[in-house]
């Protein structure tokens, strides 16, 4: 038996003798630990759980700078009206209440009074090249 082995055996006996039974928790310590557990739980439940922010779809992200769905609806209505007015005949427009007076106030071709560099009319302008 080497010295190291002898020490090993001796130490094991020492350790065996030195082992104490696990200490019992005092009732005060148990109460404190459980109070902490209760407080931590209560604090956790008091804080509203953070909801994940829902990511917007691509269409919503495109429409957002233009005023969202309301803005896009307004643009759509204006576009339809504009095209309708553009293509509608004068008679049709005059039959719309309130619009007829405006149309009637427009006399002929609005370009009639325009002079093209001293040339009286657009047809003359085309003829002269």
């Amino acid at each position: 038996m080497t010295d190291t082995e002898k020490h090993q055996i001796d130490l094991d006996a020492f350790f065996k003798d030195a082992v104490d039974p696990a200490p019992e928790l005092s009732s005060a310590l148990m109460a404190s630990i459980l109070a902490d557990a209760g407080e931590v739980s209560a604090a956790r439940q008091g804080v509203p759980e953070r909801q994940p922010v829902k990511r917007k779809g691509w269409l919503a992200r495109v429409m957002e700078p233009m005023g969202g769905i309301q803005g896009m609806a307004a643009v759509g209505v204006c576009t339809v009206l504009g095209v309708t007015v553009g293509y509608a005949s004068t008679d049709t427009l005059q039959s719309i209440p309130g619009v007829g007076d405006i149309v009637a106030g427009i006399s002929g071709d609005p370009l009639d009074d325009f002079t093209y560099g001293g040339i009286a009319s657009f047809s003359d302008f085309l003829a002269e090249g």
Partner: protein, 194 residues
């Protein structure tokens, strides 16, 4: 959901932690009864001050309650984690005491009467505890975990945040120092080393 306490004796630590995190106070009680005595035992051995050992135990358990919702299953055993937290808390307190010297920390009063006819085993135990107090803190912690808390070398390595090889080396050096210390004092102790 709250489980009856007797049912929880078969429930794993991680499951208990999850139950506690979901608000089950009975799970907290089961965890406390399972682990707090071991933390208290370690702290008493390291600090030699029952009141401080209780403070450390309460603080270690508090940290467990706080980490419960974020506990990452499979990464560490709850017992190992608690030993690590407990030993770190003890180390911090011992460092603060270094002003009066680590080895000058007050001896914990022995609860058994010191009488002549006391068993040799009790004398050996006392001699060993005194010799361990003269060891460097990490060696003492490693020996305490190995021999009193019955932790394996890999578990001690986790607590000390080092390699298993380093723990083996630490334990080996500690045992050599301890054996030499006890051998040199055996006559003073009146102990036979056989």
């Amino acid at each position: 959901m709250t489980m009856a306490f007797d049912v929880m004796s078969d429930t794993g630590d991680e499951e208990l932690l999850a139950l506690y995190a979901s608000g089950d106070q009975a799970a907290a009680r089961a965890l406390m009864l399972r682990h707090a005595p071991r933390v208290l035992s370690l702290a008493r051995r390291l600090l030699k001050d029952p009141a401080e050992a209780e403070d450390v135990t309460q603080e270690a358990m508090l940290r467990l309650w706080k980490i419960a919702p974020d506990w990452r299953t499979g990464e560490a055993k709850v017992s190992t984690w608690l030993y690590r937290v407990g030993s770190n808390l003890c180390t911090d307190r011992l460092r603060k005491k270094r002003g009066v010297g680590l080895d000058e920390a007050p001896e914990m009063e022995d609860e058994t009467p010191n009488v002549e006819d006391q068993l040799i085993a009790a004398d050996r135990g006392r001699a060993l505890r005194q010799a361990m107090d003269r060891l460097p803190a990490r060696q003492k912690l490693a020996l305490t975990l190995r021999h009193f808390e019955e932790q394996s070398n890999p578990e001690i390595a986790e607590v000390l945040e080092t390699s298993v090889e380093a723990v083996e080396s630490l334990l080996s050096r500690a045992r050599r120092t301890l054996a030499a210390d006890l051998s040199s004092n055996r006559s003073a102790l009146g102990l036979a080393m056989d």
